[in-house]
Amino acid sequence: MSHPIEERLRDAYQAKAGQLTEARLDQLTAAREHGLDELLGTEHTAELPIVDTAPNRRQHRWLAPGLAAAAIAAVAVGAVMIATGQPDSRPHPHPAATHVSSPPTSAPTPAPTASQTHGQPVAAPPYLPAGQTGSRDQVPWSAVGSGWRLLQRQNPGDYATYDRKLYLYDPAGGRYLITDALPVQSRLLAWSPDGQRAMVQMLNDGRFRQFDLRTGNVVSTATLPQAAFTTYTTPRGLAMVMVDDSNPVKPQFKRFATDGTLELTYSNPALLTTERVLYTPDGTELIGDTSSATVLLGNDGHLIRQFPVPAGYSRCYVLKWWTESAVLEVCSNNLSFSALFVQQVAGGSPSRLTSGNGKYGMGYANGWRLSNGDVLLENISGCGDAGYQVLATDGTIHPLRLPAGVTEPGYIANMDGDLATFLQRNFPGCGGTNRPRYSLIDYNMVTGQTRTLLDGLAVIVGWPGDQG
């Protein structure tokens, strides 16, 4: 006997699916390929010839939209840098200075860096005054650490394309031009945990290219598989790990040397669905998420510990180190609602950080610890953006006092200590406009000070280990 709701469901599916006609599908395909033709211009193809192993250009035309979408998504993610790895076990030259990303108890106490007070307005030498541009030779390399950011602008009018300049921003807002010769259509991806190199991904063929920040020179180019995510290993970034999902039926967690040599295919199937890994500082253990649990693994893939998904939730995703012995994770019970939990690495059930769905109705997706003990919460709205609230030390939640010129809902593009970089748009919430404008505004959550970082969109990668 059929279920009483079955006919209504079939009817609704037919109606919804039927809206996508052959003609509409052709339009969508044509629109995407038209966009790609603009993206893959003459200069582009001349400078970056298709690799020999690629079957044909058509394949790239299929591949590029996903990469471009991922690139756009990475803007506001702030390209959270989670260091990873195994073989590079030498000391970390510039350990992460924020408490938030501090790894577990085995981690040495991070040495403060000159920039550790970046949450406060910092203008003392050797930083450049905010808004000024210096050369690579002017970078005070011994001071580069927590609070510094790598930044690559997106081109106005076509936010799926990227400027060829790579800047290093100091905590005071001054910037240094590292190179103006990034490959055409490449996107900033990661900052090596030793602070020495930046990784970009070329959007036409997915290759990865590393730049030495001090010289601006290319130090490696690698052809790596299509991946759900790619990040450096810890503590130095001598390799990269990724979930190779070129075969989506059987994705595999792999580690590659930065020249593209495959070092290890992890055999533990539990890690197959992870989107992010958090490494211990010595790179010997990592935490990732699976479709059924959060897991602590040895760097060779052996399962050390499995953490339960909280009752009432279907799965969790790890976000960041929350304390030296715990990670923050977001758990969801379906696509609409999520909550934040703190999981002790030693084991036990996760403790709830947020409850309810918040002002914007779809739960909480991220949190950041502020220096005054408060926690900044990100509350998801139904339009793909977010609102922000503050969880005070007494357990109460109140709205974030927004700086002038910033409206909700919106996005935080990057977070360093108390310093949030807000992405301000001229179409807040679900609204739209044919002439979108964006600006990035730095806002100190504790002092209330603001400054416009730049007008436009950018990929921002915070200092490795900063809370992201």
Binding site: A15, W62, I72, E275, V330, L335, C430
Partner: protein
């Protein structure tokens, strides 16, 4: 089948598969991700994946199963990123706007059903779409989702019960 023939991609006519199944796969995808542009991307991604791995597929039927699985997995990945990252900026905004606009063209009762479906856990949504849109058998759904037939049955049953609970009063 011999190893040689398994590795021989000659038996797989990608162009024919694309022509024959592109629309139905895109329609399946639109039920899973809501907006058409994302659905189109998802299906293109699926065909790219098939192109890359066609040498491992023994016959066109296996290829269709592979495509279906890929579409479901990639749709899930898209939604996961929307949910946990949810910062696609204009892409997401445009997607939501289009999805919302297109649903305005549906009858009120159909919109209610689709809104209720979106409240279900992801797995249940996938099972129901494959069962009641794609008309797959329990075994085919199990294969597509990488779960047991029992799990298919229980997810379908729970999903329908929840829909009944949500929509029952409005019938």
């Amino acid at each position: 089948m011999s190893e040689a023939s398994v590795q021989d991609p000659a038996g797989l006519d990608l162009a024919a598969l694309y022509s024959e199944h592109r629309l139905s796969l895109a329609r399946l995808a639109v039920l899973l991700v809501d907006d058409m542009a994302t659905a189109e991307d998802v299906v293109h991604d699926a065909f790219i994946a098939l192109q890359q791995h066609q040498s491992r597929l023994r016959n066109p039927d296996a290829a269709i199963g592979y495509l279906r699985t890929t579409v479901v997995n990639r749709a899930r990945s898209v939604l996961r990123k929307r949910q946990t990252v949810r910062r696609h900026l204009s892409l997401v905004r445009d997607s939501y706007a289009e999805a919302a606009d297109s649903e305005l063209l549906l009858a009120e009762g159909q919109r209610e059903v689709l809104a209720a479906v979106r409240q279900l856990p992801r797995r249940q949504q996938e099972v129901l779409a494959l069962r009641y849109w794609a008309n797959l058998s329990e075994a085919e759904i199990a294969e597509a989702l990488g779960i047991s037939k029992g799990a298919v049955k229980s997810n379908a049953s729970r999903g329908m019960d929840k829909l009944e609970a949500m929509l029952g009063a409005k019938r």
